[in-house]
């Protein structure tokens, strides 16, 4: 099998302007929804209690809702989780009359007390409580981790290539992250610690996509002395596109397996990875390379003083190595 039978280099960069306009629009849409809707942060970041309750039959959501509301807990969220028999109850941090935080042990016990008499066989599957200071710490640690990744990658890329590539690579991939976050804001999917982990893992993963293309661009600068930057980039993308699609496809197969079989706990984790992988291909191919082009990458930036005349002769000969 061979999926990619490409005769000529595809002129990706001819469409760079249009493609980048598309990503710019997506980017701004994502920023808009982030600003407008905000992220639906899980209790890991906000503090609060999550309970997972399983019913023997279909869970009566309305009656659960009214029972929990009667307890006087404000801003509760009650929804199905995984199946119609499982219910997830989210309670924000509750304060008692003296302004002290009520511990989750008391809260979940109170909720179960009103639910149990109504239906027999109700089971408390899981309780998670996060106090306010832990939530704040996790949020700060999350931002620190993001910062660390960005700095680490910029430093590595500038060391490995050149600052223009580093900047182009990091902008392209941050734009992926903003788009993932935009999706989470638009659909109000729950943004939890595991989604954050997925986002950071995807950042590292799609940067390597850019690395592969940059690597090829550098190689091409050495090889094809006569091509201009645009042609070089087109050639680099064309010759790596097959690998790009196959690799991402394979990773995506694994992620899809998690999305389908992993159950509700892994669902949003896998969803964030899916969006990240899809946009990762797009941004590495179209955004990163185009940005590098516009930042004015030249042969001299990458190839420093290693001119070998017979190398040039050899590489410019398209028939070199051909067997007759």
């Amino acid at each position: 099998m061979e999926f990619f039978r490409i005769k000529k280099d595809i002129p990706f960069m001819r469409h760079a302007l249009a493609l980048n306009a598309v990503s710019l629009i997506t980017f701004f849409a994502a920023v808009f929804f982030l600003w407008q809707n905000g992220l639906h942060l899980s209790i890991e970041f906000t503090g609060g209690t999550v309970m997972e309750v399983s019913y023997p039959q279909t869970a009566p959501l309305d009656s659960i809702r009214s029972k929990v509301e009667k307890l006087g807990y404000a801003d509760t969220q009650i929804q199905n989780f995984g199946s119609s028999r499982d219910v997830m109850i989210r309670l924000p941090l509750q304060k008692d009359a003296e302004g002290k935080i009520i511990s989750s042990a008391d809260q979940s016990a109170a909720v179960m007390q009103v639910l149990e008499p109504a239906t027999s066989g109700v089971k408390l599957q899981r309780v998670e409580f996060v106090g306010p200071q832990v939530g704040r710490e996790l949020a700060i640690d999350g931002l620190m981790a993001l910062l660390f990744v960005i700095i680490g990658i910029v430093v590595y890329l500038s060391f490995r290539f050149e600052w223009k590539f580093a900047v182009a690579g990091i902008i392209a991939n941050l734009h992926d992250i903003v788009i993932i976050l935009g999706f989470f804001a638009f659909f109000q999917w729950e943004f939890s610690l595991s989604v954050l982990a997925a986002v950071l893992a995807v950042l590292g993963y799609s940067v390597n996509e850019s690395v592969v293309i940059f690597d090829r661009i550098r190689e091409n600068f050495r090889k094809y002395r006569k091509m201009n930057t645009r042609e070089i980039i087109d050639n680099a993308i064309t010759s790596t596109i097959s690998r790009t699609v196959i690799t991402h496809g394979s990773t995506e197969m694994m992620v899809l397996a998690m999305l389908i079989f992993g159950g509700p706990t892994l669902f949003y984790f896998a969803l964030a990875l899916t969006i990240g992988i899809l946009f990762g291909i797009y941004s590495s191919v179209f955004v990163a390379a185009a940005l590098a082009m516009w930042l004015g990458v030249t042969r001299e930036d990458l190839v420093k003083g290693d001119k070998k005349p017979d190398d040039v002769a050899r590489n410019d000969d398209p028939n070199f190595g051909a067997q007759v």
Binding site: F148, A197, V207
Partner: protein, 619 residues
């Protein structure tokens, strides 16, 4: 050119052998077992106990598949493995009956447990299965924050009592002791008294820095904690709380509990496999401290809402009343060495209490002076005191005494448990809590591994269909990657969690990237007309730089998660990082070995089975 020297093959074989050996224990599963451990500090579980257990079991014809003695520090435990749960339950009941002469006061706790089925020769090699996290086997997790201000405050309170009696012994008259946040201020009638007191306290209370402040007629002596002393108080508070928590957990008879310090002022408690989570929460979450004080001899209780007499503290007592207490503390819960329910001479329920020597001395002194007056026990939870009992002092007693007045034996039992579980050196607050039901845990394992297997199968089918033999090599390399990853995690005894399984799946999904890179490069070389052997060599060489690059960027993200992640994220990050490292070995070194073994021997290779290599007509 495509030959490995012999040593490289040996390295590969060695890695496979070690990987296989250390990942093996994970596949044996677990068998029902019974765990015998000591219920009292005075009872030791040792090899003699083991032979006793063995005898009890053989006398009743209960067959087991292994008896293991384990000891961590001075605490030993015996685990007995059985074929099925029926035998396990029978053995549990039998052991509980035969080992404990007095059923009400058991010497041993006999708990149900699970034990790995791993054969003992693997255990001897230290090859153990990965422990499962709470999200995979159910249980309770708490993160407790120790209130450091509370710890210092408690120390100040107990020092104030000590200082009062020290000065009285030396007949130095003081006019008042004032307790500050982390200081004690004494007021005296004259500067000489203050100076005298300073000399005494300098040697008896070296943790404080004492300074005389001459303020008019009543000079003050101020003692402030040294910074090193403050730190020591805080360290000790955390340590003592851990000890107390251990005691409480023992009451629950949980198998393999984890209670450890995290950071300077936090304690993690993990109780795996706990079924009755509500009770566990109740006992662990009881962030209580206990104090014994003299009650107001005139009116020991008043109704809620009434104003207390000046200079007294009031605490809630039952539904409608409040207890009125003096401010000074006779002893606090950490002085209690034992408490048990029993009966007094009139067959009424009572609680027998034993105190340590220091507690007994204070108790004697106080009771001698206060016969016929009421005293009480107050339980402080989250800064609020609740009166457990108020009783009248019947006579002078020391380190052993009895509290009567409990309405039922059950309430006497409860009070005894509360007293025995000890007090905490400082109040604690639950700041994070996770409870996972056991069935959810089992479901999580199943779902996690199902997605891993499905993903692996999908990738395998695709790789083999697309790259034929080279695809097969890649799949074998991927399987080796999984094997190595599992074995490294088992060697490190990293706890396997659901995010960990997800990271494993993701690591495999990303690791295949290296093989795709290599295979695509080889195809490209072939497309450009290279000879098969050259194509292999050049393909691997050229792909290597790219593989290294891409793994470094992924590793940067992994390390960031490792450094800043906590809890579930850390589990993810550990597997993610290790997966990248093992993939470098399997995808490059190992798969090259396979290719070399296959193609390197033949002298002339005409064609590589790497799938169709399509050539543009122009070339």
């Amino acid at each position: 050119m495509n030959r490995y020297p012999l040593w490289k093959y040996i390295v590969i074989l060695f890695a496979l052998l070690i990987g296989g050996l250390y990942s093996l224990p994970n596949f044996f599963g677990e068998a029902p077992a019974v765990q015998v451990s000591s219920a009292k500090p005075t009872i030791k579980v040792d090899l003699a106990t083991q032979s006793r257990v063995e005898k009890i079991l053989t006398d009743d014809n209960i067959s087991n598949t292994g008896i293991f003695f384990e000891s961590t520090g001075s605490v030993g435990s015996i685990k007995i493995r059985f074929n099925n749960t029926d035998i396990q339950l029978r053995a549990r009941d039998l052991l509980q009956q035969k080992l404990n002469i007095d059923q009400n006061e058991p010497n041993f706790t006999v708990a149900l447990n699970l034990l790995s089925n791993t054969p003992s020769w693997l255990n001897a090699l230290n090859a153990l299965p990965m422990p499962l996290g709470l999200d995979l086997r159910g249980g309770v997790y708490f993160l407790l924050q120790v209130d450091m201000k509370g710890a210092v405050q408690k120390k100040v309170t107990s020092l104030a009592t000590d200082i009062r009696s020290q000065l009285r012994d030396k007949s130095i008259r003081q006019q008042g002791i004032e307790r500050g946040q982390d200081s004690i201020t004494l007021t005296f009638g004259s500067t000489e008294d203050a100076e005298k007191a300073r000399t005494v306290l300098m040697t008896s209370q070296p943790d404080l820095i004492w300074q005389v402040k001459p303020t008019g007629l009543s000079p003050k002596l101020v003692g402030e904690f040294k910074p090193t002393a403050l730190k020591e108080i805080q360290d000790n508070a955390v340590k003592q709380n851990i000890v107390t928590l251990n005691k409480r957990v023992n009451e629950l008879a949980v198998k393999e509990p984890v209670i450890q310090q995290q950071g300077a002022e936090r304690i993690v408690v993990q109780l795996p496999g706990v079924q009755d989570t509500a009770r566990a929460k109740d006992i662990i979450g009881r962030t209580a401290t206990l104090e014994s004080r003299l009650a107001d001899p005139i009116v020991s209780t008043i109704a809620i809402g009434e104003t207390p007499p000046p200079g007294m503290d009031v605490f809630r007592f039952g539904e409608t009343r409040q207890g009125v207490f003096k401010k000074s503390v006779i002893f606090s819960g950490d002085r209690i060495t034992d408490a048990s329910a029993g009966f007094d001479q009139n067959q009424r329920p009572a609680v027998n209490i034993s105190l340590d020597a220091a507690g007994g001395r204070v108790m004697q002194e106080v009771t001698r002076e206060n016969i016929g007056k009421p005293m009480g026990m107050i339980l402080f939870e989250k800064g609020k005191g609740e009166v457990l009992t108020i009783a009248t002092i019947q006579g002078e007693f020391g380190s052993k005494f009895q509290i009567t007045g409990q309405p039922t034996t059950e309430s006497a039992n409860d009070l005894a448990l509360l007293l025995r579980a000890g007090s905490l050196a400082a109040p604690m607050e639950i700041i994070e809590e996770r409870t996972i039901g056991p069935s959810l845990g089992a479901e999580n394992i199943e779902k996690g591994f199902k997605s891993l297997i499905m993903g692996f199968a999908a990738i395998s089918i695709f790789m083999i269909a697309y790259y034929l033999l080279f695809g097969t090599f890649s799949v074998v390399a991927l399987a080796v990657n999984l094997l190595l990853l599992i074995s490294v995690l088992s060697m490190l005894q990293a706890t396997l969690t659901l995010p960990g399984i997800a990271a494993m799946a993701l690591a495999l999904g990303m690791a295949i990237d290296s093989n795709v890179l290599i295979n695509e490069r080889i195809r490209e070389e072939l497309r450009n007309g290279a000879a098969p052997q050259t194509a292999i060599a050049v393909g691997f060489d050229k792909a290597w730089a790219t593989i290294l690059d891409s793994n470094v960027t992924t590793l940067i993200a992994g390390l960031a998660l490792l450094a800043f992640g906590s809890g579930p994220i850390k589990g993810f990050a550990v597997v993610h990082c290790l997966g990248i490292l093992t993939s470098m070995f399997s995808a490059v070194f190992f798969s090259r070995g396979l290719v070399n073994l296959w193609y390197g021997r033949g002298k002339k290779v005409q064609k590589l089975a790497i799938g169709q290599v399509w050539r543009s007509q122009e070339k």
